[in-house]
């Protein structure tokens, strides 16, 4: 499994996948006596779309939280770009170029779409409180430069028509898109998507899939995503990790995973003797 060239490989549709960007080594995560993740290892390569799947309660979201640095595992190591990662604050994670979206949307409901997406640029705003307050010189230039990046993201995700709409007034599918916009505004190297298509209808799912592929293709962003919809996962991702009861039961290309007996058992269930 994964016997691939350490320097990377080229996918069937001609995308270049680079060397390993992030590596999980024997991660174990416990909440008190509950073992959420048991001894899991896998890697994420530059430019790849990597999916984490599994039945409910398999520990997928916990895994994503470990990747994002929100949870610190009791055992194991997280290596990011050739360095072992120490426990970090969320803003430090963001500074490393990791952005995420949430399973249950976490936007500022009362603010407009534009303002929400602008918050994604927070790490790029360097001017001080005073200069922000009087709105002259550096603060203004910074705002203009950041707004331009944000407008490009808005254009990219085709949400121009709701630019000034308060988020609270938007339907669910669009909120998800706004969340993606905010994550993209941070210009991440690694984008973590926690169930980007949950609760969407077929058309919205198709749109979202298109956007995820385009993000990966246009910006070369590495994407790690959790998803329930098997069809979507199999179509989108380059490699898939399958978890069940906190353990890794499969890892490989969609085809390999599809034919893995353990995975089939986990999803379809087996008779216990």
């Amino acid at each position: 499994m994964n016997a691939v060239n350490p320097e990377g490989y080229t996918t069937a549709d001609g995308r270049k996948i680079g060397p390993v960007m992030m590596e999980m080594k024997n991660i174990t995560l416990r909440f008190g006596g509950v073992k959420a993740i048991t001894d899991i290892s896998f890697d994420i390569r530059e430019g790849e779309i990597r999916a984490i799947i599994g039945p409910n309660g398999a520990g997928k979201s916990s895994m994503l939280n470990v990747i994002s640095g929100f949870y610190v595992p009791q055992e194991g190591e997280v290596w990011f770009r050739g360095e072992k990662r120490a426990p970090m604050k969320p803003y430090q994670v963001a500074q490393q170029g990791i952005a995420r979206t949430f399973q249950n949307i976490a936007l500022f409901e009362g603010m407009s779409v534009l303002d929400n997406v602008m918050t994604g640029r927070l790490n790029y705003m360097k001017s001080g409180l005073f200069s922000q307050a009087i709105w002259k010189g550096k603060a203004e230039q910074e705002e203009v430069a950041n707004r331009e990046v944000v407008e490009r993201v808005i254009d990219f995700l085709e949400i121009q028509a709701i630019r000034k709409t308060p988020v609270a007034r938007l339907p669910y599918g669009l909120k998800k898109r706004v969340e993606l916009a905010r994550a993209l505004a941070a210009e991440p190297k690694l984008l973590l998507l926690d169930e980007p298509m949950a609760g969407m209808n077929v058309e919205e799912k198709e749109d979202m899939s298109r956007f995820i592929l385009d993000v990966n293709d246009e910006f070369g962003t590495t994407i790690a995503l959790i998803e329930h919809d098997m069809g979507v996962v199999m179509d989108l991702s380059d490699r898939v990790v399958v978890m069940d009861y906190g353990k890794k039961i499969g890892d490989g290309t969609p085809d390999e995973v599809r034919n893995n007996q353990d995975v089939i058992d986990a999803y379809l269930g087996v008779a216990h003797d």
């Binding site: 001609g14 707004r147 407008e151 254009d155 085709e158 121009q160 028509a161 385009d214 293709d217 246009e218």
Partner: protein, 657 residues
């Protein structure tokens, strides 16, 4: 410049007009497009540079004089430039409806034998690639937006900006060629080829010469006193003759600025930001805006709603008269001024129509109530009657003589005559050259003296000289008892209700009329929300008994009003149903300009029509639908058929149910 006896100031082509504008209006904005949230501006001098670069690039790619270049996309300045660049190198631009399915596109591209296409984005590239194998002569495609296209095979695919760069690089080499080609353009050379929307049968390619376009643009600009200071919003399909005349013909003739919206959904916001002074829209846009206003007023506070109702009633009474400069009493004027301050002004501002000096509606008959609404607000909305074959203008309303029941007097340079059959014929400088590769149709539409048949039945009103259109000549019929059947008249009355999006009335040759109704999802959805009616789809909402009750109310009101008209009282609707799907151009039920294709609807839903006439209470049906990407599926539904009350007419006995 080639001499043509009639060309004004030697300006015999659009590229020649561009040359003039680039000197006369060099620093004046010619195009604006909202991108990245900001209106980007190009002056006439910029436009000339862009067009020249592209024209050189086209020569570089091997475009020959007389080639057809398909232009496919939404309204973008770059695509307008593409048309002018194509003309500059002696090629003929063929704008294609950008929402066409690949099949329809294949027909057009094959029929004109396009060697090149300039398209907007990946969506259009994919469609052309899909059908490319059938197009033997097709060679190169140029695209604007590179998104998603990086991995495509670029042997025949070029990015717009690269073509321009290559053109710039080869400037010295090709400029003499470009100059020579441009100099050859005269009044007789083809300006553009536009495909008719095809209400009946396959679209036809209408060839319009420079004379047609420039003369029509000149006459109409003089008629409405359009100058270089106008602002227009270009949002209608580029393949429609109206957009070509307004956004290219008139814009290049008078040098005004064309504004392109950010994308189709932001149109209303962009309209408000630009505040055009010259505005053009088909009735459905005005209907849509009115529906929106009404929906929002339903949700407004009681105080606001009462003010709105009160002042709108006053506006309906005196507004049109004030607009036409007719005598109106002092008190009424004062009250209107007050209304203007509180209601009309803010409302116009919200709609983006504050600055409108001349507004036109065309393409279809507009409901008189809708028309009156805008006129009463003080918006100078006029009707225009035209056709692709006439380079738009046949008749127009002159200022001060606007009426909802006529389409106005002949436009400058247009002669009219009414045949014995009642069909309207016209002759003008804008009359098209021919239907491309279709001499039979050309001969049957245009006679040797240049008179063109409109296909519409109408008459000229004695006294005023205004033309009145009754209906499509083909649609007007007789009912079984010999009374007149004019479906459009009744449909328009129905469509005035915000809840009714579309209506199709049947009854030709039958003893009574029946109707199909399409509800407006936005309006009815809003109503459902307020009345706690749960629904999960269009189909479910359309079949809800309370929606049926409401629509029945509308139908009966229309019947009451139709009964007042002696000539058409036979057109009252006896039975109706609400269709389980929206009529859609993708399914062939409407044209791309959203005109109902009666014959196709009649064939497709024949089981429902049978049900309406044999008195059944419910009909089950299964309908094929086409998705946007061309896939097909089926929806099944059981529809309830309703009887509507009809009204007695004094001198005519109606068999009431």
């Amino acid at each position: 410049m080639a001499q043509s006896s009639q060309a004004t100031e030697g300006l015999a082509s659009i590229p020649a007009l561009l040359q003039r504008n680039a000197t006369r209006f060099a620093d004046k904005p010619a195009y604006r497009e909202k991108e990245f949230g900001i209106w980007q501006t190009w002056t006439w001098a910029d436009v000339k540079r862009e067009v020249d670069d592209l024209a050189l690039g086209l020569i570089n790619l091997g475009v020959n004089e007389g080639d057809f270049i398909a232009i496919i996309g939404a309204n973008r300045p770059h695509l307008y430039w593409s048309m002018v660049a194509a003309q500059s190198v002696g090629a003929i631009p063929v704008p294609v409806y950008n929402d066409s399915a690949a099949e329809e596109m294949a027909y057009v591209l094959e029929h004109c034998g396009a060697r090149f296409a300039i398209v907007e984005d990946q969506e259009q590239v994919d469609k052309v690639i899909d059908v490319q194998d059938r197009l033997h002569q097709f060679e190169h495609m140029i695209y604007l937006d590179p998104r998603g296209l990086r991995k495509y095979d670029h042997h025949m695919l070029h990015q717009f900006s690269h073509v321009q760069e290559q053109g710039r690089a080869a400037r010295d080499e090709f400029t003499p060629d470009l100059e020579a080609r441009r100099a050859k353009l005269d009044y007789k050379s083809t300006c553009v080829m536009l495909y008719t929307s095809g209400t009946t049968g396959k679209p036809k390619g209408v060839v319009l010469s420079n004379r047609n376009i420039i003369e029509s643009a000149k006459n109409s600009c003089e008629f409405d006193k359009l100058g270089a200071g106008e602002e227009v919003l270009a949002y209608l399909p580029m393949a429609w003759v109206g957009d070509f005349i307004f956004s290219i013909g008139q814009a290049y003739w008078s040098g005004f600025c064309v504004n392109c919206p950010e994308n189709p959904e932001t149109m209303m916001t962009d309209l408000r930001e630009i505040g055009p002074s010259y505005f053009f829209a088909p009735p459905r846009v005005f209907e849509g805006m009115l529906t929106n206003v009404m929906i929002r007023m339903e949700d407004a506070s009681r105080m606001k709603k009462r003010m709105f109702d009160r002042y709108m009633a006053h506006a309906r009474k005196v507004g049109p008269a004030i607009l036409d400069g007719k005598p109106v009493g002092m008190m009424d004027r004062l009250k209107y001024a007050l209304g203007n301050m509180f209601i009309y002004g803010p409302l116009k501002n919200t709609l983006g129509l504050t600055n409108v000096r001349v507004g036109y509606t065309a393409g279809e008959a507009i409901g008189p109530e809708i028309f009156a609404f805008y006129r009463s607000l003080g918006i100078n909305l006029k009707q225009l009657y035209g056709q692709t074959e006439a380079s738009v203008f046949i008749t127009v309303h002159p200022d001060g003589e606007v009426r909802d029941d006529t389409v106005g007097i002949p436009a400058p340079g247009v002669e009219l005559k009414i045949a014995e059959s009642g069909e309207v014929f016209y002759r003008s400088p804008g009359v098209f050259e021919e239907y491309y590769k279709n001499p039979e149709s050309t001969a049957s539409t245009k006679d040797a003296e240049g008179w063109v048949a409109t296909g519409d039945a109408g008459f000229i009103e004695p006294g005023t000289g205004h033309l009145r259109i009754i209906d499509r000549a083909k649609d007007v019929g007789k009912m079984a008892d010999g009374s007149l059947f004019a479906p459009k008249y009744v449909e328009n009355k129905l469509k005035f209700y915000p809840n009714v999006l579309e209506a199709v009335v049947f009854g030709n040759g039958r003893d009574r009329c029946c109707a199909f109704i399409n509800i407006d999802l936005q309006a009815v959805g809003n109503w459902a929300e307020r009345n706690n009616i749960a629904y999960s789809s269009y189909q479910e909402l359309a079949g809800h008994p309370r929606v049926l009750d409401m629509v029945q109310g509308h139908v009966e009101e229309v019947n009451a009003s139709v009964a007042q008209d002696e000539m058409l009282s036979g057109c009252q609707i006896h039975r109706f149903l609400i269709l389980h799907k929206e009529l859609d151009a993708d399914d062939g039920e409407m044209t791309r300009t959203r005109k109902v294709r009666r014959r196709i609807i009649e064939e497709k839903f024949h089981d429902l029509i049978t049900g309406l006439y044999d008195g059944s209470e419910k009909v089950s049906t299964k309908t094929e639908v086409t998705y946007e990407d061309g896939r097909k599926g089926y929806i099944s539904a059981t529809l309830s058929l309703r009887d509507a009350k009809v009204y007695e007419v004094a001198n005519r006995k109606v068999a009431a149910e």
